[in-house]
Symmetry: C2
Subunit: 315 residues, 2 copies
């Protein structure tokens, strides 16, 4: 039985692991996707404190991983499917097998929401994307549609102008929900056209050189059906907390599906802690996720100290 | 009137300033002591996520400062003496003059506690110290007394063995309150002798080459008066939140004198926010302070947006 298993190996868990592993707490991180989480697939991180000129997301993720591993944390690629209370701790069923731990940190963060419209699933990864850093370069001198009106949409659209010849941003509401700096930058960029009061209805495929590709987005702009000719679609309509493996664990979620914690970052289930973008009240900032990871580690340490004391007194 | 004044220029405020200044929020930091706060006078910071091999405290502080200033934050050396609610914001009286701001971030952190025994004040800075990084090198091949039983005491004593020939650690309680790693390292170090159940009673001065110096520490070890011959004393008996300038501001403190906040890091006085080591519930970790600074910045942004809307609707 491990001391602590951290679910997800993003900035939250890696910061927590720096603390726990450094204190000789046996620490395992289980990651189902990308080590470094959303940070690792972010182009440039300008506001993680400590890097005056900014740092590439992948490089920051790499530094976090090295630091956690330097102190002895183990990172494994595996997907947690369920968490179950057992005597003296928890049993985690994973894609590969099973693990046991005295304490759990839920640090799975959030994933991009889907539009849920025809064509989205069909062309996912082949014309429909959620990561400009990963897939933007495929659209050199091409036309793109970006869906969403928040910070990510603005930021990623700006990044995509490095490649694309023209970008239509489709925003359901009548104004931006992004920061002023970004909105200003977008409005100054003559590669970008912003369309408010516009819902995205369908992604239409066609063919190029015998291969399927996205050719058109059908939308409704101010009540009128409108076509946006395009080569690809990037969807940034918000994030959804990753908690499916908590079904049946008894861990309480808030109305939006985020994990509720007390001021020690413990959930309603003693021994299960939570921090970062999956936590109710999260700010979706790397700095905050890292800070919460560190704080959660101190709470986990305290929990494990009490655990050891209780085990000894039972003998 | 500034948008936001941050009191203290440690990691908390500098992280917050990276966020606010980047969003074109007019941001001023007022620091009465060292820019970078306690972080700046820490020898090596091993657990601030992002630096796999650790980083010197002074270097980290410098990076944080550069990053905040890069986005336009202004850091001034001045001491805030009081905070008063005025129409549309707050008035701060300082050592040099006055400032006004729509919102305030209290990020003053904590200061080292004093023993309050004879000789401590008299020899402060000349034999009695709170900062091993700053003053340790004066004690090359000398004997030292370190007072305190927590992480800082252990950590700083270990650091001081670089210079000192022998260190007596005096601990009031019957055991360490430091982390296991540190306690183990201390116990392995044959330059250090640990004395439990020992209260420090008086610091005795003498003379060397015609100059006053510390020569002895009078203590009570297990009920018996005991002398510790020494050349200097380093006191690490805990931290005290820096809040004196909040007297009369109406800001609520907890039983230990730390500033109480809600989950948006706002105090009971709307417009006054608080984060980092001065906040009730603080973990005293740079990572957590930085994370809270970032989170507080988002709350301040939201507060200022509402403020501007209200001002406009009043016109």
């Amino acid at each position: 039985m491990h001391d602590v298993i951290m679910i997800g190996a993003g900035p939250t868990s890696m910061a927590a692991a720096v603390y726990t592993a450094r204190e000789d707490i046996d620490t395992v991180l289980l990651e189902k996707g990308v080590i470094g989480g959303l940070a690792a697939i972010t182009d440039k991180v300008d506001n993680y404190p400590g890097f005056p000129e900014g740092i590439e997301g992948a490089e920051l993720a790499d530094k976090l991983q090295k630091q956690a591993e330097r102190f002895g944390a183990k990172i494994e690629l595996d997907e947690v499917q369920s968490v179950e209370k057992i005597d003296g701790g928890f049993k985690l069923k994973t894609a590969i097998g099973e693990h046991e731990a005295k304490a759990i940190l839920v640090g799975t963060g959030s994933e991009w929401k889907k539009l849920g419209i025809p064509g989205e699933k069909e062309f996912y990864g082949r014309g429909v994307h959620n990561c400009a850093t990963c897939d933007g370069a495929f659209y050199r001198d091409k036309k793109l549609v970006v869906v969403g009106g928040g910070n990510s949409s603005a930021q990623e659209a700006l990044f995509l102008t490095k490649f694309a010849s023209h970008i239509d941003i489709l925003i359901r509401g009548d104004k931006w929900k992004a920061s002023e700096v970004l909105v200003e930058e977008v409005s100054k960029n003559d590669k970008i056209a912003v369309h408010f009061n516009t819902t995205t209805d369908e992604i239409i495929g066609g063919e190029e050189d015998g291969l399927p590709k996205v050719v058109n987005v059908k939308a409704t702009k101010e009540g009128k059906a409108t076509d946006f000719e395009t080569d690809g679609v990037f969807v940034f309509i918000g994030l959804k907390p990753v908690t499916y493996f908590l079904d049946g664990s008894g861990v309480e979620l808030d109305d939006y599906g985020f994990v509720k914690t007390d001021d020690k970052l413990m959930t309603n289930v003693p021994g299960i802690f939570c921090a970062g973008d999956v936590r109710s009240g999260a700010t979706m900032q790397i700095a905050s996720a890292v800070g919460e990871g560190a704080s959660a580690a101190l709470s986990i340490r305290e929990y494990l100290e009490n655990y050891d004391r209780e085990m000894k007194s039972e003998v």
